[in-house]
Symmetry: C2
């Protein structure tokens, strides 16, 4: 039986995985947050494609799940990291929402709990890693420990400084054990963030998403840019590269992340697992039952 | 601001929650597994309604989630229990798949692990209970401990016998702490199960779902019917009633469970949580930021 055919990806001049991969030349200050790198098309087309490609993502995820149930130890981990309002929640709903919920291991990482603080920063991360055959999704991640922690001096530099290398080592271990890591850094402009926060203050159905601390954090924008720059410079590795996703246009960022996940899953080159039983014997047993 | 209006539920002669609720007269042996209790319409209509009502379910779940983030301690727990091939997996994909994955706490309960066996049977259940504001989904549950365990004498009667009352007490505690429990017993006929197992033996993309043990279990059908009868008789309580869902027609069972969840969420009478900050103050702060 044929594998799922690898469709040509139309409307991408450059595949998302190439157009978005961080390079040593990536400058956070220069990111065009309204851009649609690699994609040729408008919002209407992007939204239509999201549905089509979401179905493709769902089919590939089922293959991953099926193989996991049959002993394959591989998994895929999407790491979403970005400033407030960049659209991480929407990514969960509109991208991961295409996929069978049974196959998703989702975790979000906020301010560490009292128990988490009594452990190393990677403790809670390791506990939440996807099971084999699963699509893991981290809404924020271990990168908080070199972003907000660095910006606010929550620990001294001699503590956060070694973390870049620790994280690289940790991720290499994951990759070697069969986890494909898809790292997505989501960028909005300061103006777009303002507009999104304003909406949360205008609409009573959005109040619950608003946190006064989000405005306070805007005052640290240059420090965050510096911390994101260091993150990209020091943790975009061969085994787990960063992808820089402009997020002012939600339709683009969602389509782009869908393509990144499809690419990761296609690279696993999965087929339906063979029967681990004698088909004819079982047919005879079933007929008699 | 208006709450989500409670739509009239069209095409249901009797609301699902009434048509399906177990009564003292429910006889497992008499369940019409091809039936569509309460519903007036065919498959095409049912599938169209599933999309419409799935959107409604999604909107209500967002309200639950928003309130959970704002301090409301309530949650909803869907318990799916049924014979092999009854369609629990499809329920996850096609019903829960409508909902934002962030808001779902999903757990499945298979053969207990070595660690789980070293604890009381409710230990793993308690660990997997939904967080406040979440929609929990149990794919199998603590009822395994009065079904497969009873059928196969995995523990003696004096151990499983008291469990009915223990479970009732456990569930009452959950309900009192704010969890609405929606218990769904899924029934297929012996013939329909045979057809579904046969499909798994015909289609290479279904082999991974096939387990030779499923055929073995068919030999215990009368014992399972007896165990399901005892479960309905002894654990369908005022605070957590069972719903008996015929599952030979997948479109019906999915629509019915969607309606049961909508009913449970509507009964929470949720509104968008009010702002817990001064809106005008925050607007001024945002403008200056």
């Amino acid at each position: 039986m044929a594998k799922l055919p690898k469709n040509p990806v139309e409307n991408w001049e450059i595949p998302a995985v190439e157009a978005l991969r961080a390079t040593p030349d990536t400058r956070v200050a220069d990111i065009q947050t309204k851009g649609t790198p690699g994609f040729v098309g408008d919002k209407a087309l992007g939204e239509r494609l999201l549905e089509e490609r979401g179905a493709r993502l769902s089919a590939l995820q089922e293959l991953l799940y099926a193989n996991g149930r049959s002993g394959d130890t591989r998994s895929v981990l999407l790491v979403l990291q970005g400033m407030d309002t960049a659209g991480k929640g929407g990514m969960l709903r509109h991208v991961i929402g295409h996929v069978d919920p049974q196959g998703v291991d989702h975790a979000s990482f906020g301010v560490p709990t009292a128990e988490e603080k009594r452990h190393d920063y990677l403790w809670r991360i390791r506990k939440a890693l996807p099971r084999k055959g699963q699509l893991g999704v981290f809404d924020r991640s271990h990168y908080e420990d070199v972003l907000v922690v660095r910006v606010h001096n929550l620990v001294p530099p001699d503590v956060w400084e070694p973390r870049y290398e620790e994280i690289n080592t940790f991720e290499r271990e994951l990759v070697e054990s069969g986890t494909t890591i898809v790292k997505v850094a989501m960028f909005v402009s300061l103006d777009e963030q303002k507009a999104r926060l304003a909406e949360r203050l205008e609409r009573p159905d959005k109040y619950w998403k608003f946190n006064p601390g989000d405005i306070t954090e805007r005052g640290f924008w240059p420090e965050y840019q510096k911390a994101y720059q260091a993150m990209l410079d020091r943790t975009s590795t061969e085994h787990a590269p960063w992808h820089v996703v402009p997020c002012d246009r939600k339709w683009y960022s969602r389509l782009a992340v869908t393509e990144l996940l499809i690419d990761a899953l296609e690279n696993l080159d999965l087929d339906w697992p063979p029967a681990d039983f004698d088909i004819e014997v079982e047919k005879a047993r079933l007929a008699e039952s």
